[in-house]
Amino acid sequence: MSGNVRARRPASPPPGYGYPAPHKYPPASHGYSDADERREAAARGMGPTRAKAAAANLPGGLNITPGEWKLLVVILLVACSVRLFRLSKPDSVVFDEVHFGKFAGWYIKTRYFVDVHPPLAKMLITLAGWIFGFNGDFDFKEIAKPFENVPYVAMRLVPAMLGVATVPISYLTLRALDCRATTSLLAALFITFENGLVTQSRYILLDSPLVFFTALTALCFVVFSNEDRREPFSDRWWVWLAFTGLSLGAVVSCKWVGLFTIATVGVCTVLQLWFLLGDLRVTPRMWMRHFAARAICLIGIPIVFYMFMFSIHFAILANPGDGDSFMSSEFRSTLGRGMRDTYADVALGSEITLKHANTDGGYLHSHPHNYPIGSEQQQVTLYPHQDFNNVWRVLNATVDDDPQYDWANDPLEYIRDGARIKLRHIATDKALHSHEVRPPVSDVDFQNEVSGYGMAGWSGDLNDDWVVDIDHGSRGDRESGERVKALKTYFRLRHLMTGCVLFSHKVKLPEWGFEQQEVTCNKQAAKPNTLWYIETVAKHPQLHDDAEMVNYEKPGFIAKFWELQKVMWKTNAGLTARHAYDSRPATWPRLRRGINFWVKDGRQVYLIGNPFIWYMSTLSVLGYVAARGFLILRAKRGYRDFDNSKAMKYDAVLGFLFLGWAMHYLPFFLMGRQLFLHHYFPALYFAVLLTCGVFDLCTATFRPRVRLQIAAVLALVAIVVFARYSALAYGSEWTRGKCEAAKLGKGWDFDCSTFPHAYDQYKTAGATPHDSAAQATVGGEYGGRAPVAVNEPVAGAGGDAANQAGQGQANQAGAESSAAPALGAPEPGRDIFEEHPQKAMASKSVAADEAAAREREREKEDEEREKEREVSVVVQTPVVTVVSKAEEKVVVDEKKKETPVGFEGDEKTEEEEEKESEETTTGTDKEPEAETEAEVEVEKTYKKPAGPLGHEEQIADQIAQELYPEALDDE
């Protein structure tokens, strides 16, 4: 076939690629094959020297002697004793256990949550917790919170056991790479006694599983490559290839960092295929087989595994939870019992909830609170949770003088395109209203305020009228394009008088609007933000029982999976906030700084590596790069260093390990997000193996006994250094002196002042060496305030060191020691999904709210007074008012802390809440009344609504006052 083509030697090699001459100097052990043997071997897809090699029992797969199995058992025991030592201490929450423990709880409660990491490692931890009876009640709220009824040891055992398992894997990997047993033993010991890996594997964190699966992948792939050299397509070849694929799936299902492992294996596989391609004895057909097998096992299997993990994840998290608000409505409808089917037909008189289509702001909402500026009418917002305050009634606007259009008895009239309607807020009996007043936040000319306005029994004015513009209906339901149907029709609401359309965007109202999303009427809106649809319709009295019901189309697994991936990606990229202990990649190999995990009772857990092993590994990497670079230059100048089989072998081994290090390290430089020291651990694993590879190379010519002695010395040094820092890994007892002595650099900021001066100080149980006082006084100095005793919130740890420091200072005692950096406090890693506190504003009774409103008005007056103060530069202001103001604020704050009402909008809880809030308000409201009465009077005069139909509104006010005198009494 190639006979038709001119085959020539090229004149010059193409830039960048050398010519394949890999088989020029076969290692002596491979023997020699004659031409027939080679052809036969090639027909089976093997390289030229393999036929003999297979016959000569070329080591393929795991090739270790029975004696080494015993050694492995010993290694395993040592690893267990190092890694599991006092696993139950500290018995309080450490670092990111705050998150991962909490996630386990949510898994057990099957409440949906969102996290930036894939689920495998979290589910393993949960499994352990579940088996040992964790019921998910403990909230892992803050670092150093003592565990109560949590099988935390079992949960910690998962990462710990995986950490232990990493040790024999490192041994086997080096053995499979054809290193000596001594070298492999050294690697196993280095991995065992690496403080950082030990610390990280002892707590409920994801990095230990990640490192384990990375190591497992490396092992599987190395063994597979050995098999590939021996005999491709054998059973064992397939098994190891499949294992590599599974293991890859597991890495990437722990953390997305696992993609680097995939990249490592990918690069190696591409190289293998490239060499196979250059081997002319491998037919194209055979090459395709090689290619397909790798594609299936190294691409297909991981993807399937990864998706399978998510399907389990979705299967477990069947109920709504904190993660809901990140997902689309369709997604949410698959959680819990989902939404109940709703009636499809919308007619005059229907009770509906309106949802904004483009943002996840939620439902069109109103509550009995007024805008503090603009028209000062009732707020209209978007609110993400279901709530009775989201319910509106559709009324006919064309019938002018008939406030109560008798929808219950008149024939059913659907809402068609172009219909003129009013929307009545049922809870407060106000109409959706807009007028030429600028909205509170988006204060621009083309935006109008939207408010709730009106009175019970008053049909409202023309500014309440909206025209329905249907944008599109559902494809499957032609009718929905002509008249409004729940969930299917997307429409705009055009304001009849001003022509603007009802609009919302991702702009939050300030605190007075409970940080809900702003709703305006926009004359120049981008179309997507003006679309609304109706989510629920209550049963219209005229409808038959068998009327059409609809619900969200539940997304399939793929759709859910894909949506979640996008959310994770977006959030991951958004993780850019600084953390007190984050670090940039360039500092990792130098071990500039660790992470403070936990501080309590004179003990501390601080993530720091074993400096001996760490610096050795960094030096080996640098040494390798320098040596390899030098050899490349030499090769260019015509030296034949690589004609040596030993050089070939070590080049392959060290090259692979270096590739692993580089692939797991260098990509971090491209990441802008928050990074931590523990992101270096997979790279560190490869670097430690590389160190041992270098050791193997350097001691290649020594006698075994000498090699063993050198290894023993190295291991001993590593163990001594480990012991020196072990107190930080185990959170065990230490002294301040030893701690100070152990600091190697300025960046090593573990706080030595947490430790006592001598060990026996630990015996007085619970005594902390801190000067922190339970109670401190603030004030009481010259010329000013009376002393105030302040109860320190029992900060323990996790609390603010700064706070403590402040108190220390106030005490004027030990000022110096407390001037230590406030950075000393441990804080959990990242919190991105909790940084969106959905400030919920549950519906409340009108009465309670009016009280709150008055409260707010008073506040506003105070503010105004304050403003005046700011302008006039008066020196003296009565201190008393300031204090009382602070108190008021506390009261208001308490009120604002409302919990979101459950998904089903359970009305019972609402009622309870009403009562509660009523109680609190009546309790606290009375005292400042006398002071502000006069001002309330003033309020009333200028509080006049600023609608264009001012006269009619005044009349409406009068009617209202006559009808509802008690409302006035309240004031």
Partner: protein, 769 residues
């Protein structure tokens, strides 16, 4: 086996001498035929003559000038970035200092052009749309400068292709992609940096190729001159726009590859001394020489700009005091103890402020405060911004001794409340990691130590006097070593939303610099010296240069604000969106920067074909099949490969940049892709090349020469393509020249891609009811 037969059918011209054993019968014969230039088709012979070449390049250049100068006086208004570059030219003429992120060469040329045509500099180019005619600005002359450079780019491209060994028709093909490109034209007709920049870049490439062709005449005079020529144009490129660094990188990579080849002992057998000689020559011509030129540009820049101007505030006080008429120079005074002053934060421009209100006892997150008097940053004038400098040592009587100096320990008294500024180890209200700032009654000595601050003048020397306006300083708290700091974050209502001031634990933080804004009261005698205009101070050129470079880098990285016409790099080659430069509502005229769709898409197709050919060739060679003859292959790798390198280096780095990006950042890459398109066209229609193109030296092995022959196909295909280019150019011309005005429907018709955001589009009537 069909693939094999197509490979065979390729006409393989000579030059395959080594593989004689495998040669087909005809090949030797073919060789002899093709070595004779007369054996080519008539068309090729006709076009290959120097006279024909001159004619072609003459026509192209004339056309280029015509297209770029056509109605160059329209619009007679400020367009897009003329706002900046016109202004800078005016500053050069007025000799007022300004600051910009780009190096000065092109702007100096604009200034020169303006001076030449008699622009007096008294027009400020404030807004897009300001009229030139009404303000008597000789803008045509200033616009002519980039237009000339833009026109000359076309023959430069032609010359590059010609020198690289492509036939006349291919060179014309590449040049006409630039010639008829609407984006290049629009960019050249206005006072913008890109046209000169692109011209310099193409000249760099041209010189480099000329130099490379002389590689068998190493160290000859010609060789040296083209080497330094490359360095010269490189410096010009770099000196006219920041992006010029990419051109430097391109040449750098090419030189490194070249040097790497030279190291190859098997191929060349050079000694290391020989290698170092080459290395030294390149270091001199391509590093040292351009750096010197670059410095010279800046030397001109500083020499011209000697008056105080808009750019003062970017620079350090030391720099500012070298400018005539600078405020610091005029008004900077020594500060004395007991002076009453206002203090301004350097970065956020707020005054240090305090008022009688106190911090709330307990913050929302449960932390508590000292309840001391608030210290905040406040942006407006207020008597609460007044502070008095209180000494901490006994003072002699004569006023010289009362000058406050670097490293003095001082107290600051808040005049209105008679309290002293202090900080202590209490967490500040917004940042738990920083210390709270508050004040303390003056009479109370209990917290005396906490009111002591160490005055550190930035870059101060021992006993340097503390000056108003010009001394940036930090206030470092003596007991706790925190420095007074503020940042743009508002305190809640209880502090009237003023800015938080707190103690930064990093005492040398750059953003902790403050400056004394005004001296309100002083009992120091007014010295007469201050009344007279002061002589500007001197500052070494290199210090000025270093300061400006650092600032340029920082500001370039800081350009991240979004812009309505900014676009991502991935969109550029496909012309997904352009930039609206200018609009005029009355006549519905607009200038919209958009490329010639045909030229750009052809370039993209060419690039993908190139990668396809190279990839397929690599794979085939791996299987010991050699589909492309070596000479052609080397041309693909070395010549077209160099163009691809230019393209990639000028394009790919933008993916990593966080700053604002616009489609005109792609123009240099587009130029390179036009050259790639020529090379690919040559390969696709004939696969013959002019070989060898390098000038043989004495010791060079003689190689059988061969000549490119496109036959009649070349001119026909190129002609058709140029015609299509021309039609598309004409179609888009109203958007490029900004005239004539277009009605709504025409605008809609010109909107070839829905993503183009043209103005004055007619409302699309929506079919939906």
């Amino acid at each position: 086996m069909s693939s094999d037969s197509t490979i065979r059918q390729r006409r393989v011209p000579g030059g395959s001498g080594q593989a004689g054993a495998y040669d087909q019968d005809g090949e030797d014969h073919v060789n002899t035929v093709y070595q004779n230039p007369r054996a080519r088709s008539q068309w090729e012979q006709l076009l290959d003559t120097p006279r024909a070449s001159m004619a072609v390049v003459g026509v192209l250049t004339t056309l280029a000038f015509a297209l770029r100068f056509y109605k160059i006086n329209h619009p007679d208004q400020v367009v897009f970035d003329e706002v900046h570059f016109g202004k800078f030219a005016a500053y050069y003429i007025l000799r007022e200092y300004y600051f910009d992120v780009h190096p000065p060469l092109t702007k100096l040329l604009f200034g020169l052009a303006g001076w030449f045509v008699g622009f007096d500099g008294n027009f400020t180019f404030d807004n897009i749309g300001d009229s030139y005619t009404e303000n008597h600005v000789p803008y045509v002359g200033m616009r002519a400068m980039p237009a000339i450079f833009g026109s000359l780019t076309v023959p430069a491209v032609y010359a590059i292709m010609k020198e690289s060994g492509y036939s006349t028709i291919v060179a014309a093909f590449s040049a006409s992609i630039i010639l008829f490109d609407n984006a290049h034209i629009a960019q050249s007709r206005l006072m913008l940096l890109d046209a000169p920049f692109i011209f310099f870049m193409s000249m760099t490439i041209y010189s480099y190729i000329r130099w490379r062709k002389l590689r068998y005449h190493e160290f000859s005079v010609e060789w040296w001159s083209w080497l330094f020529g490359t360095g010269f144009w490189m410096a010009c490129t770099w000196g006219s726009k920041v992006n010029g660094v990419l051109t430097v990188v391109t040449i750098g990579i090419a030189v490194l590859i070249d040097l790497w080849d030279m190291l190859d002992w098997k191929k060349n057998g050079y000694t290391m001394e020989h290698f170092w000689k080459h290395f030294g020559a390149r270091a001199a011509g391509l590093i040292a020489w351009p750096v010197v030129l670059y410095l010279i540009f800046f030397w001109f820049h500083f020499t011209v700009l000697i008056y105080s101007g808009a750019g003062d505030s970017f620079m350090s006080p030391a720099f500012q005091e070298t400018l005539i008429g600078n405020e610091l120079l005029m008004n900077s005074q020594d500060l004395h103890y007991y002076d009453i002053i206002t203090i301004k934060h350097k970065d956020t421009k707020v005054f240090l402020h305090s008022h009688p209100e106190t911090y709330p006892l307990r913050y929302d997150d449960g932390r508590i405060s000292s309840q001391g008097q608030q210290v905040t940053g406040y942006a407006h004038d207020d008597t609460n911004n007044h502070w008095q400098i209180i000494p901490t040592k006994s003072l002699p009587d004569w006023h010289q001794a009362r000058i406050v100096r670097h490293e003095d320990v001082i107290q600051l008294l808040h005049v209105n409340t008679q309290t002293l500024l202090m900080t202590h180890d209490v967490a500040s209200s917004l940042m738990a990691t920083n210390q709270e700032f508050t004040t303390w009654p003056r009479e109370d000595q209990t917290r005396y130590n906490d009111t002591l601050f160490h005055l550190e003048v930035v870059d101060g020397v021992i006993a340097e006097a503390w000056k108003s306006k010009s001394s940036h300083f930090r206030l470092v708290h003596v007991p706790t070593r925190v420095s007074m700091w503020t940042y743009s974050s508002q305190l809640p209502e209880w502090a009237f939303k003023q800015q938080e001031v707190n103690g930064n634990k990093n005492p040398t933080d750059k953003s902790a610099a403050w400056v004394v804004s005004d001296i309100l009261e002083t009992d120091a005698p007014v010295d007469l010296e201050n009344q007279q205009p002061k002589e500007p101070k001197k500052l070494g050129f290199f210090r000025k240069f270093a300061e400006l470079q650092v600032l340029m880098l920082q500001h370039n990285a800081g350009l991240t604000a979004s812009h309505p016409y900014a676009s991502g790099p991935i969109n550029w080659p496909f012309l997904i969106s352009g930039i609206s430069f200018w609009t005029e509502n009355d006549s519905q005229k607009q200038i919209y920067l958009i490329g010639n769709l045909i030229g750009w898409w052809a370039s993209v197709v060419a690039l993908s074909i190139y990668f396809g050919i190279v990839g397929a060739d690599l794979l085939a060679r791996r299987r010991d099949v050699y589909p492309v003859p070596d000479e052609v292959r080397n041309r693909l790798w070395n010549s077209a490969g160099f163009f691809v390198l230019v393209w990639a280096v000028h394009y790919l780095p933008f993916f990593l940049m966080g700053r604002q990006l616009f489609i005109h950042h792609y123009l240099p890459s587009h130029l390179a892709s036009a050259m790639v398109a020529g090379a690919v066209l040559n390969f696709v229609i004939s696969e013959t090349i002019n070989f060898p193109v390098s000038i043989a030296g004495r010791s060079t092995k003689m190689r059988p020469s061969q000549y490119a022959d496109l036959g009649i196909r070349g001119p026909v295909i190129t002609g058709l393509f140029i015609f299509a280019l021309f039609l598309m150019f004409m179609f888009l011309a109203p958007l490029t020249y900004g005239t004539p005005g277009l009605d709504g429907d025409t605008v809609n018709a010109k909107r070839l891609l829905s993503s183009w955001t043209l103005h004055f589009a007619a409302k699309v009537t929506d079919g939906q009811s």
